[in-house]
């Protein structure tokens, strides 16, 4: 019987405390069914991809600094392929891998479950993602990609099909992981934890998983048709020699509204970090849940693809673009009020708070830029503003996820990540997002060619900052692991159930049965009860 076949309460009762498996080998990694080990596979891959995509971003930005092209990649096809890989890498590889990694580790603990639902399927999703990424990257390097501009050889045409296969595997793996995560939140919550008492990060993962479940299958449907067409159909999507029709058919997944799904977990991370830093309950937990839910509704994107006629001029597309700002603004306002209630903070802010608030502001900028983009008279669709929105939203997600990694580091790997390094990492990523996002939007406005040239260099500087940020995360994790400092079970006096377990987290997560949960902040309930008991006794 697997752990998921027992109710959480029973599983918790029957679980002996077992030390987390240190430095598991490849066999253990391949066969594990522990959600923390599976989550670490996603996180490691996500960090590796972040570093790779950030470096690729520098090369793409360098290419963009010259009107004639800096010829970094050696040919117009290669430039176009690498730009495609960079966009797909940022939106479909880096952010989903980091999001699913963090969620796979934290969400089961937050909802009081002993493991993720369908742990073997979750492990299969992680390894399927690895294989999909490998196929995609290798095939693009072999001359594949999403079509070609100036002709391809026979081998390169096959590589294009391989790229699409890899993309499909990546999407299917994300979907499988989403099914596991969403099922965990829906059916494995501890007794007493109604849906409205779900911690905000777990809720945001349920919402974003649902949005991906509604969106990514439509991408897979596109890929099925394109691949069958290339294998023997009438070439509806153009002969891969000299056409961008394949990319045109799938690029809606890299644009708003579909790209806004990346920002939903950010709202959950902010909502998890802020009350802990403030040491108080959220002033409106239900309001924040509603804001995250609305953000999810506005991020469903399969309908907006050009194949269903050009939706971009239609009222619904414009409404989605304009309204996307509202839930982000509402979420930031409610979190700010919670912080304000706690009074001013003295000294350096913890890295996770800086990251959370910075991510929130970047998301606001991203959705704001998206709102500008859909306003017809600005004529920004199909310009640099497309990339501006993607950079702001995707790097908002990266900053938010980095903040989450700093916040939950003790539960992820049993170590504490250094605060000073964290502040540097957050500032690096925030700077990268602002420079790349704002510069792309300004290029979209096309005020003057001289300004556009200057902005291309600003993008280049932003891309370098992104590489520094990625290196900062990797080196912080490496040094924290080496230092061996033990952060304690609950270093931040957290409010939700993941802080009720010991560090490192044992297999089965919880030692003994959990008490019935009565609010969204069960550990704060316990602390308040202890305070009131002490007050009564004295």
């Amino acid at each position: 019987m697997t752990m998921t076949e027992s109710p959480p309460s029973e599983a918790a009762e029957s679980t002996e405390p077992v030390a987390a498996t240190p430095g598991a080998g490849l066999y253990d990694a391949l066969t594990t069914s522990d959600h923390k080990a599976i989550g670490r596979i996603w996180l490691r891959l996500g960090l590796l991809l972040l570093l790779g995509v950030a470096v690729l971003g520098v090369l793409v930005a360098l290419e963009g600094t010259s009107a004639d092209g800096a010829d970094v990649f050696g040919g117009v096809n290669a430039v176009w392929q690498m730009q495609g890989l960079y966009s797909v890498g940022l939106v479909l590889l880096v952010v989903p891998a980091l999001t699913i990694g963090l969620a796979t580790i934290v969400v089961p603990m937050q909802v009081g479950s002993s493991n993720i639902a369908f742990p073997r399927a979750a492990a299969a999703a992680a390894w399927g993602f690895v294989v999909g990424v490998a196929i995609m990257v290798v095939s693009v390097l072999a001359g594949g990609g999403w079509g070609a501009l100036d002709g391809v050889s026979g081998g390169e045409a096959d590589a294009i099909e391989l790229t699409l296969l890899g993309m499909g595997m990546v999407a299917a793996s994300i979907l499988l992981a989403c099914i596991c995560l969403a099922t965990t939140v829906v059916s494995l919550r501890t007794p007493g934890m109604g849906l409205m008492k779900t911690p905000l990060f777990a809720w945001s993962i349920l919402v974003s998983a649902s949005v991906w479940i509604l969106t990514l299958p439509v991408l897979i449907a596109n890929l099925i048709i394109i691949v069958v067409d290339l294998r023997g159909g009438p070439l509806l999507f153009g002969n891969p020699e000299g056409t961008t029709m394949i990319f045109d058919q799938v690029h809606w997944v890299l644009e708003q509204p579909a790209v806004f799904v990346l920002g939903i977990p950010v709202l959950g991370i902010i909502g998890s970090i802020v009350p802990v830093v403030a040491g108080a309950r959220h002033i409106a937990h239900a309001g924040l849940m509603a804001a995250i839910g609305v953000a999810g509704l506005l991020a469903v994107g399969g309908w907006s693809q050009p194949a269903f006629s050009d939706q971009r001029d239609e009222l619904l597309f414009v409404a989605f673009g304009l309204l996307a700002v509202v839930p982000v603004l509402a979420s930031l306002a409610l979190n700010s009020l919670t912080l304000a209630k706690a009074g001013p903070q003295v000294g350096l802010p913890p890295a996770q708070l800086l990251g959370a608030l910075g991510a929130g502001l970047l998301l606001l900028l991203g959705t704001g830029a998206g709102a500008l983009r859909v306003i017809g008279p600005f004529d920004l669709i199909g310009t640099g503003a497309d990339a501006g929105v993607v950079h702001l939203v995707a790097y908002a997600a990266v900053v938010g996820l980095a903040a989450g990694m700093w916040f939950w580091a003790s539960k992820i790997g049993g170590y504490a990540l250094p605060n000073a390094a964290g502040l540097g990492v957050m500032l690096d990523f925030i700077g990268a997002a602002v420079l790349m996002g704002a510069a792309h939007v300004l290029i979209g406005f096309d005020f003057a060619s001289g300004l556009n040239d200057a902005m291309a260099w600003v993008v280049f500087v932003g891309a370098i900052l992104a590489v520094l940020g990625a290196l900062g995360v990797v080196s912080s994790v490496a040094s924290a692991k080496r230092s061996g400092d033990e952060p304690g079970d609950d270093p931040w006096h957290g409010h939700t159930l993941e802080w009720a377990t010991v560090t490192p987290v044992p297999a089965g997560n919880f030692v003994g049965a959990l008490a019935r949960v009565t609010s969204e902040a069960p550990l704060l309930d316990v602390a308040e009860q202890a305070d009131s008991d002490e007050g009564g006794a004295s």
């Binding site: 639902a117 969403a182 479940i213 439509v218 449907a221 048709i225 159909g233 399969g302």
Partner: protein, 195 residues
């Protein structure tokens, strides 16, 4: 008050993980299929706007596709019969119902194969014929998946799993089956009736 009413309440049911997971998986499958169908319908609308004939008159007949429609309706009843039987711990009825459902599935597969041959369509002949193949191919894939799910569920039931209080697998397989049936019902109207 009867004696049984004074008994302590039963222990909490185990979380319906398989059922919830299948709900999300069914949603995923439906979105893949309806994504393909939406592309089919939008390309057909574009062709009509340009005055291009989509299918030659009389090639795609309503009769054989209608038989699939009715067979899937019957299969939805039989799969629910299996759910009810397993809830009542009536295993012989459950096995018969699961077997009948799979038989209906095989009949649908056979009829679909007949349609693909009967039309004489070729994959690379035209956009309409290509998309017809892709749509039906995607449906057949999901039909096979649903039949495999039912088969595994039947095997597990035969080996003693599932009970009136522990029967998630059968309703889960039934839910996926209904989803696949619903895919076809929408297709029947959007592709075969409206052509």
């Amino acid at each position: 008050m009867t004696a049984t009413a004074r008994l302590p309440s039963p222990a909490l049911r185990r979380p319906r993980t398989v059922l919830v997971g299948t709900l999300f998986a069914s949603a995923t499958a439906a979105m893949v299929y309806f994504g393909v169908l939406a592309l089919y319908v939008s390309r057909r609308a574009e062709a009509r706007l340009l005055g291009i004939e989509w299918f030659p008159e009389g090639v795609v007949e309503l009769g054989p596709s209608g038989w699939i429609f009715w067979t899937l309706i019957m299969s939805s009843f039989t799969v629910q019969w299996a759910v009810q039987a397993i809830r009542n711990e009536d295993r012989p009825n459950a096995y018969v119902a699961l077997g009948l459902t799979m038989l209906f599935g095989a009949a649908v597969f056979n009829q679909m194969w007949f349609i693909l041959n009967d039309t004489g369509f070729a994959l690379d002949a035209s956009e309409a014929q290509f998309l017809f193949f892709v749509l039906n191919g995607t449906f057949i894939t999901f039909l096979i998946l649903a039949m495999a799910f039912l088969f595994l569920t039947a095997l597990r039931a035969m080996f003693g799993q599932y009970s009136p209080r522990q029967n998630d697998g059968v309703p889960a397989a039934a839910m996926f089956w209904h989803t696949v049936a619903a895919m076809y019902w929408v297709t029947w109207i959007a592709v075969y009736v409206t052509k």
